[in-house]
């Protein structure tokens, strides 16, 4: 028996080393690209690696069309991607192509290739210019957008009809609507959803400060976290919580908790991304959803919040032929953004496209897309190109959460501004 096992083991080892030899012998030919893609939903892996792309996978189709390029593509969950990428960078093993939301740290540390080095001209001109602008540091574009989503106010039309109110456009109307819903349902239904969690508290900061003429930065693009407008805006949001107009635990109830409550008819209004109807449709029960602009302070214009992810390419000084590598990366992008592939990708997860060539087919597929594309044209983005963004993002979340436990938001934001820009 033991002999058998020993023989089997030896045979296994021999085959493995043979396989290893085979790989290293033929490794000269194709260019290998390490690609990391983020897991946007349950279909992402299927589309890239399984059979979600019409019975085949993106990798298979790409390698078929480009036999001289081999893709080592990993789909990584959003929870792990930062850890994975950082570890790989620390071990001098950065991916060639990375799909993620942030880029400034990588660009500032000289790890990225400028987009112009690898992106074909035709594809480059296909991106929405307002998106490309979000990835510029020192007049250089460091990443291209892979998709976007836009936020809007979603409300439960049945509740609004029952109570007899209209969707609010100003903060004063919002307070009135909240009070009316509280009165009508005797507090059984939360009128307004607020998420100031560690996951996405920066979005709450954006919703209110942008609706009050404030924001993360001033007109010159400098940090202006403690502006009067911002303090007033966050105090308004805190007031909504204090008055009992919102979900009870904004520091720990994430947007997904809010979306669940909204889908269950327990929450009347929530600011959420354009995919919310798909999310709600997957849940049990049917509510009538309607959308409106995010309410702003009297006399100020509300602004939608755009969220955009990116694709970027890392430098690799060890690559024998840099031009060939750049070209291979370009061919990956061209294949990905080819409307034939890209439209399926964007619509599969319910996102908004980043290239013009995809718009036509998407609108043909789902006419509601058109309205969202308009929203996308007018929305603001987080200042992710600024080097301090990570600290600012965590800083505003901490400021909000401290304010929720009784601290003054003014003092908190003053301290944050001092820490970031002082």
């Amino acid at each position: 028996m033991k002999k058998w096992i020993a023989t089997l083991l030896a045979a296994a080892m021999a085959t493995t080393s043979l396989a290893g030899a085979a790989v290293s012998a033929s490794a000269d030919d194709p260019i290998e690209l390490d690609v990391i893609i983020c897991q946007y939903g349950p279909n992402t892996s299927d589309w890239f690696l399984g059979d979600g792309m019409g019975g085949s996978s993106f990798v298979e189709k790409f390698e078929e069309a480009n036999p001289d390029i081999k893709l080592n593509l990993d789909v990584v969950s959003w929870n792990d991607v930062y850890t994975e990428v950082d570890t790989r960078i620390a071990n001098d093993n950065a991916p060639d192509i990375l799909n993620i939301d942030v880029f400034a740290n990588y660009a500032n540390e000289g790890l990225l290739l400028p987009v112009k080095d690898y992106c074909p001209e035709e594809l480059y001109s296909d991106f929405f210019p307002s998106f490309i602008e979000q990835s510029v540091i020192d007049d250089t574009v460091w990443a291209v957008p892979d998709l976007a989503s836009a936020r809007a106010l979603f409300y439960n039309a049945d509740i609004f009809e029952e109570v007899g109110i209209e969707p609010p456009t100003t903060w004063a109307e919002l307070e009135d609507a909240c009070q009316a819903i509280i009165d009508y349902y005797d507090g059984e239904i939360y009128p307004w959803g607020i998420d100031m969690t560690t996951d996405e508290g920066q979005a709450a900061f954006a919703y209110y400060t942008w609706g009050n003429g404030g924001g993360f930065v001033d007109e010159d693009g400098e940090w202006a976290l403690n502006s009067d407008e911002n303090v007033e805006a966050i105090n308004f949001a805190l007031g909504l919580i204090e008055n009992g107009y919102t979900n009870p635990n904004p520091a720990t109830q994430t947007r997904y908790d809010l979306q669940d409550m909204f889908a269950a008819g327990k929450l009347a209004m929530v600011i959420a991304p354009n995919q919310l109807p798909t999310y709600v449709a997957d849940k049990e029960g049917a509510i009538n959803i309607a959308t409106a602009g995010i309410p702003a302070n009297e006399g100020k214009t509300g602004s939608s919040v755009g969220v955009m992810d990116r694709i970027m390419a890392f430098k690799d000084d060890s690559a024998p032929d840099q031009d060939a590598r750049n070209e291979a990366i370009g061919r990956f992008l061209s294949f990905f953004y080819d409307p034939e592939n890209y439209v399926g990708w964007v619509s599969m997860e319910g996102f908004l496209p980043a290239v013009n060539s995809a718009v036509e087919s998407l609108v043909a597929e789902d006419p509601s897309f058109e309205a969202w594309l308009d929203v996308l044209g007018s929305c603001q983005f987080y200042p992710t190109a600024k080097a301090e963004w990570d600290q600012v993002k965590q800083g505003v979340i901490a400021a909000e959460q401290n304010a929720l436990t009784g601290a003054s938001i003014e003092t908190e934001l003053d301290a944050l501004q001092e820490q970031i820009a002082g």
Binding site: D86, I89, T198, A251, D390, Q391, Q394, N402
Partner: protein, 294 residues
């Protein structure tokens, strides 16, 4: 002579694979972390030059540092302390003969055998305000009239996290103590009974001294496990609001991967390691001294 020498060598030969594994997977990474803690580390994780103790001073001066250390202290003390107490009591019960004892013992293992993330998520559902099972049970039994917000302040949330920690740690203590209890010779109790000893004096004079080795092991291991426990706090609150429910481990993770202050995060992990070495060291020395004295 030759024969004797070979025999002395054998234990080391057998230990060699474990030593090699421990060196590669434990000692070597720890050494790297120590080295990194004195180096500048960029936001993207690129390791720079030697900067002395700067990462440490930065870590200690972080505004949340004191809160986090206090939380870590209470977290370890309450979870280890209370789970030892409850685990001990449960072990005493399970050591008695009663119908269904085997079933009771198997049920006890469940909380410990389930993944901590699942445990913490389940607790989240139990104490949820809107559709939590605790509220709906109490409402249906008519004990409360309207739903209670079980997570109304961060102090209460931290208590829930500790409760969940205790719940998952109790089985481990119970099984350690139970194995100790089973090795106690029944005749000791019988002769004590003959001498007129009651439950309490048997507990103090027979049970406790004899299960002390088992208790020591479970306590030292628990201090290490609980101190390093990440999933419960990360799943239930992520340290919110503003690090007020963070312990050192969740805090340094957030610091490294959310705030991207990797240097201070690594310094903190070294500090945590040293604290653990110190705690475990003090405990082992005192326990061993007592055992020697006994």
């Amino acid at each position: 002579m030759r024969e004797k020498k070979r025999w002395n060598l054998m234990p080391y030969v057998w230990l060699l694979p474990s030593i090699a594994l421990i060196s590669v997977f434990v000692v070597f990474p720890i050494a790297i972390v120590f080295k990194l803690s004195f180096s500048e580390i960029s936001k993207a994780g690129v390791v720079g030059e030697f900067i002395g103790l700067r990462n440490y001073t930065e870590a200690v001066n972080l505004p949340a540092f004191k809160t986090v250390m206090a939380n870590t202290f209470w977290w370890v003390i309450s979870v280890v302390g209370l789970s030892t107490l409850f685990g001990f009591a449960i072990a005493l019960v399970l050591n008695e003969k009663f119908a269904g004892r085997k079933i009771a013992r198997s049920i006890l293992i469940f909380p410990w055998a389930t993944s901590l993330v699942i445990q913490a998520s389940v607790w989240n559902y139990i104490i949820k305000y809107e559709y939590g099972s605790l509220n709906s049970v109490l409402l249906n039994l008519g004990i409360i009239r309207e739903a209670i917000n079980w997570r109304s302040t961060y102090q209460i949330e931290f208590v829930w996290e500790c409760a969940c920690g205790i719940f998952v740690t109790v089985p481990f203590v119970a099984f350690c103590v139970l194995s100790g209890l089973q090795s106690i010779d029944r005749s000791l109790y019988e002769s004590a009974t003959v001498d007129g000893a009651g439950f309490l004096s048997k507990l103090i004079h027979i049970t406790l001294p004899l299960v002390r080795p088992a208790l020591s092991v479970s306590t030292v291991l628990n201090i290490i496990y609980v101190f390093n426990s990440f999933p419960i706090i990360f799943t239930m609150t992520k340290g919110a609001p503003a690090n007020k429910t963070d312990t050192m481990i969740t805090f340094l993770y957030m610091l490294s991967f959310y705030d991207r202050k990797k240097g201070p995060a690594i310094a903190l992990s070294v500090i945590g390691f040293l604290i653990l070495c110190l705690c475990a060291g003090i405990y082992m020395v005192t326990v061993m001294r007592k055992e020697d004295a006994a």
